[in-house]
């Protein structure tokens, strides 16, 4: 037991190091490369001034602005790269935890918001909202996107849940999820056909799934949802551990199973909805990262695994995003293109492993 705890600390330290390295590399790489030393200096200065500004009720605002607007590289750093890398880290972590919770819920190692069609469901409702509702209402755009995305996620989760009671096999559930995803895409396409060009451009940009154009406002929104979502997941780790045995065993140990299942789904939907609303559907992160975390940790103890999943997701996404925007620079790839390349093979591996296990 002690040895395992040591491994957890080690893995976390390793991930924190990778995260930190990722942040720096992301910040200094691009068409304009900023030396790492400058990144440190400017970030530190910016952070110091921002905090003092917060505690002195805005007295240092002008100094902060002057640091941000000092030159081109500082503007690129503060206005483009830093928000983008923070957003990628946060949303990657959130998506991974969301996928992990779904895997627990469906007792299925290849469950995830994307393959189960949940992301597509969110996209569908967001599409409908973008085309038919938001242009005609006065409400704040990003907020209503978030709500729409949440409704879509929850709706499809319920639908898949309904099917999951009929199909017991893991691969069948996956097929059902993919089909549901196609239906949602069809509905989205149908809506696009009848939408005007301006809305379609909005929707297409968004549905490509990308962290480009990230700003501090989005980071703040993501923080407000992801951090509580992550904390809630972490607090669920004790009932999750009991639920890993089976529903009946969990109930016998005093887990209020019905309430637990509802909370689990709500938290998972909230996290994936937040990601979908801000960055669009991102494939395979939700499935692949929990497995990478398990392999790293060699344990499935939820109170260790959930933080590991979050950090691994953050690291995974910032590096995928780095590849997406630098590999064919200045052309930028969809983040989903990169995550699929790394994520899909993991799913195939899991299916094969599982299949040979079933035969035994």
């Amino acid at each position: 037991m002690i040895e395992k705890q040591g491994r957890f600390v080690l893995v976390m330290a390793f991930l924190v190091f990778l995260l930190f390295a990722g942040l720096v590399i992301n910040a200094n790489t691009g068409t304009v490369s900023i030396p790492a030393a400058d990144v440190f200096r400017m970030t530190f200065e910016g952070l110091r001034l921002h905090i003092t500004d917060l505690f002195t009720a805005g007295k240092y605002k002008s100094e902060l602005d002057s640091v941000i607007n000092a030159d081109t590289s500082s503007q690129i750093l503060f206005r483009i790269r830093l928000p983008r890398v923070f957003l990628a880290a946060l949303l990657g972590g959130a998506l991974s935890v969301s996928g992990y919770l779904l895997q627990v819920f469906f007792r299925n190692p290849i469950a995830g918001p994307f393959v189960l069609g949940i992301s597509s469901g969110a996209k569908m409702v967001v599409g409908i909202a973008l085309i038919f509702l938001i242009p005609h209402s006065a409400v704040n755009g990003s907020f209503s996107l978030m709500i729409a995305s949440f409704i879509g996620s929850l709706l499809i989760t319920m639908l898949v849940l309904l099917f999951s009671q009929k199909v017991k096999s893991m691969s069948m559930l996956l097929v059902v999820g993919i089909m549901v995803g196609y239906i949602c895409s069809a509905v989205t396409d149908f809506c696009i056909t009848f939408a005007n060009d301006h809305d379609v451009i909005n929707l297409t940009n968004w549905s490509m799934g990308s962290f480009s154009g990230a700003n501090w406002e989005q980071v703040r929104t993501a923080l407000r949802i992801c951090i509580p979502g992550f904390l809630a997941s972490f607090l669920l780790s004790k009932p999750v551990s009991a639920y890993l045995l089976s529903e009946a065993y969990a109930a016998s140990m005093g887990v209020p199973v019905k309430a637990f299942r509802i909370v689990l789904l709500l938290v998972s939907s909230m996290l994936s909805a937040c990601v979908t609303a801000i960055a669009g559907p991102i494939s395979f992160v939700g499935i692949a990262v929990p497995h990478i975390a398990r392999i790293l940790l060699k344990s499935s103890k939820p109170n260790n695994l959930i933080p590991t999943v979050f950090l691994s997701g953050a690291v995974f996404c910032i590096f995928c995003d780095l590849i997406a925007r630098t590999l064919f620079s200045p052309v930028e790839l969809k983040i989903g293109t990169v995550t699929s390349v790394f994520g899909a093979p993991i799913v195939i591996y899991l299916m094969i492993k599982r299949h040979s296990g079933e035969k035994k």
Partner: protein
């Protein structure tokens, strides 16, 4: 003694439909209650109802004097632990971690284990003789080891009652005996009460303090194994031909071959039984004698042979009995000598062999492969 678990006019079933009603049981500390009955008799339904996995249709279940439906989930978990039939597949989980899950109702919101919790995990593993498995991955274990770990998990919950649904399923005979001995020791030493269902009636008769017989519609008998044994309830419950299941030893015999006896087996001292079974397999009707009533051959001959010539134990064999055996031999095509030889029996045997020879009936001392 106050009963730990009791039910009053309990009716169980699914979707408000009664499967079995009129269940009135009462179990004391340290006792083992076993549910037996054919497949589909409702054993699991009863077990699920008393562990609150299933809502009772009517009637009440008490732990001590408390109605179980009024007990908060966490407290109930401290009183009752289960070992279920479903097989679990946790990944990357060591046995110690799995057993530690039993501490669930005692740990804080993060599930962190105190020194006391850890010592309970160790002692639970010790109880099932699985301390050496502690750091092994659960998924790599054999069925027998898994079942012991699942029992350790239940023990680790420190309940007053452990409910097990067919704990011996999937286990080979060695593990069955091992598991049941662990249960017996645990009830005796810790005063834990056990409620379980078993398919092995013979083992149930040996381990249980009380037995509840169900047949899918009602409770057909409830009482001590002695009572159940003398009431011949088991034969009725499982629709067994009289005697084909020997409850005293738990041995099973296949149905006998009917017809006029073709072979007379001179048996005794247990030497006849393998021959009886061989004849049964080959479909040859036979008679057997002369058997003392306390001879094991007598038990099997009763079930397998058409006719048995018996004589009271510890008494010389009377001439009447020998005459009766000789009469049956006259009607047979062969005499089979199982090779029993001792004291007064040899005298009777020699008379019978002489009789057969005089009548031209072939005597064999072993059975050929085919007839």
């Amino acid at each position: 003694m106050e009963s730990l678990l009791s039910t009053k006019d309990l009716a169980v079933g699914y979707n408000r439909k009664i499967l079995i009603n009129g269940i009135n049981i009462s179990l004391e500390k340290g006792k083992i209650l076993t549910l037996i009955g054919p497949n589909g008799a409702g054993k699991s339904t009863v077990l699920k109802t008393i562990t609150r996995q299933l809502q009772s249709v009517s009637g009440n279940i008490f732990i001590g004097s408390q109605l179980i439906n009024n007990i908060p989930g966490k407290d109930f978990a401290r009183q009752t632990a289960v070992v279920l039939t479903e097989r679990i597949h946790p990944e990357l989980m060591t046995c110690a971690e799995l057993v530690a899950m039993g501490r669930y109702p005692y740990t804080n919101i993060f599930g962190s284990l105190s020194e006391h919790d850890k010592s309970v995990v160790t002692s639970s593993l010790e109880r099932v003789h699985a301390l050496d498995l502690a750091e092994k991955d659960f998924s790599t274990l054999s069925d027998g080891q898994r079942q012991r770990i699942m029992l350790a998990r239940a023990i680790c919950q420190e309940p007053e009652i452990i409910v097990l649904d067919e704990p011996t399923a999937y286990l080979d005979i060695r593990y069955k005996i091992e598991l049941l001995s662990i249960l017996r020791d645990m009830t005796r030493e810790q005063g834990t009460a056990v409620v379980m269902s078993l398919h092995e009636i013979d083992l149930a008769m040996k381990i249980s303090d009380e037995i509840l017989c169900l047949d899918g519609e009602r409770i057909t008998a409830y009482g001590s194994p002695d009572m159940i044994y003398s009431s011949h309830e088991i034969e009725r419950l499982f629709d067994l031909q009289s005697g084909s299941y020997n409850l005293l030893f738990g041995s099973v015999e296949l149905p006998k071959t009917e017809g006029k006896p073709e072979v007379f087996v001179i048996a005794g001292n247990g030497k006849g039984t393998p021959l009886f079974r061989k004849l049964q397999r080959q479909g040859i009707p036979f008679a057997a004698g002369i058997l003392f009533e306390n001879d094991v051959d007598c038990q099997t001959a009763d079930v397998l042979s058409i006719e048995v010539v018996k004589t009271p134990a510890f008494h010389p064999i009377s001439d009447d009995v020998i005459r009766k055996a000789a009469e049956i031999i006259s009607g047979c095509r062969y005499v089979l000598d199982a090779g029993t030889d001792y004291g007064t029996f040899s005298r009777a045997k020699n008379i019978l062999l002489d009789h057969a020879e005089k009548n031209g009936i072939p005597i064999m001392d072993k059975l050929k492969g085919t007839n």
